[in-house]
Amino acid sequence: MKSTGKPEPTVTIDTSGYAVATEEIRSEAKRLLLEKIVDAVVGYQSGRRKGSAVPVIITDPAQAEQLVFSPACVNNLSIYLTKAKKEIRAKGKLAVVAKGCDLRALAGLMGESQFKREEVVIIGVTCAGVHSAGVQPNEPLTSATIAKKCRECSVHIPEGADLIVGKLPLLPDLTPTEKELLEKLDAMTPGERWEYWKEQFTRCIRCLACRQVCPFCYCEQCLCDRGRPQAVDTSPRPSGNMGWHIVRAMHLAGRCSGCAECERVCPMDIPLNLLNRKMAQELKELYQYEAGLTPQEKGPLTSYDEKDDQSFIK
């Protein structure tokens, strides 16, 4: 989505800290595995395409040399720690490489009792940003190739991790394109917003990659897959698509940590994170709640206050 202002000049982002981070991740992973503090490390390794990175789970200290950190490390690895990933949990105690945004997802998952803090070693990486979807993995990180979420990142340093590796370069000021788009949508009339979302959702092919990649979509049986009663039409047609995206946003409200993985994996480029952001913003306004700051047992929609606003109820 284009920014409303004039096009900004392309700025290169200093990623020299990533090589330092790679070295530190390797030595830490090796140490953790050698000393048998953990049984497996969830991290990134180089993919087959030059410069690319894919998630990997290593169990042997010798494999630690495979681990990398680069702007291509886009995945949120916290998804591998949920209870739904039984085969990974069976490996024993885990260590995980986490960027600041991933750490927020980890905090959210802990709050939802997916794992306990003492069961997982978190290797936090200071991150200046990662690539957006569709960027060639060996391209340098610039203001043109950086992910939208990284443009307005507030968690470059993953505070609260067991170990923080890498170092943060001086970061350029980037325009918050997503925030601008959200403001634009908020200023529209309901009819215009409906047209906007209709157009977006009509493209949806219901591949459900957004569900597959979301750390918080760990239900064994999704409501939207059920046939009797069928809550949401399962075929990729406008009506069911609208239903699916509304249900998705509703189920993530107050839980989504804003890693924007849903938007990254969307093959039809639907701005899914906009919905999540909007819900997060509303929950902050209504109940002063922000997801993923600390592990909290009760989310805003699983708790209540007798003095909650009820001005909309007759």
């Binding site: 009819g191 509303e282 009820q310």
Partner: protein, 161 residues
């Protein structure tokens, strides 16, 4: 009196308060519009936002969600949870672009037959003046992007076939 448009109103109510309230209105021989279709739930806490969505998609013109007053819930806190959930769901629908005038929430106790009549009448008249809701039902008839021949080149190829 005959109207051009009879709105379909779906009321999701809790069995302990609003359903009993509606019952009271009935046994007291109070008149209220028959446009309302009452669906009974154990508690407002049982009412999933999906039900509202589904009702809209199936052709409801207006929806009423009603339950016990705060503090009167038969299950202690069901309506408190529902209150938060619907406060958030309203915001989501608003952001998607649904007119919130079509979705109403109320607390009606078992003794408030009059209030039930009032709310249902008011909502029915409001929806009647707004006309039918076609946003969601239109989507049912719409084709997927791949089916629409908006592109002239595609159209040319299609005509050749």
């Amino acid at each position: 009196m005959k109207h051009d448009f009879e709105p379909k109103i779906v009321a999701f109510v809790c069995t302990w308060c609003t359903y009993a309230g509606a019952d009271l209105a009935g046994t007291s021989r109070m008149l209220y519009p028959s446009n309302v279709r009452v669906v009974k739930f154990p508690c407002t806490g049982r009412i999933d936002p999906v039900f509202i969505l589904k009702a809209f998609q199936k052709g409801a013109d207006g929806i009423l969600v009603s339950g016990c007053h705060p503090g009167d819930c038969h299950y202690m806190a069901g309506n408190f949870h529902a209150r938060r959930r619907f406060a958030v769901f309203r915001k989501l629908l608003e952001f998607i672009g649904v007119d919130l005038n079509r979705l109403e929430f109320s607390w009606v106790s078992a003794a408030e037959g009059g209030k039930w009549v009032e709310i249902v009448t008011e909502l029915t008249e409001k929806i009647r003046s707004m006309g039918p809701l076609t946003q969601f039902t239109d989507l049912n008839d719409e084709e997927q992007w791949s089916g629409a021949l908006s592109n002239p080149e595609l159209k040319a190829v299609y005509d050749q076939v």
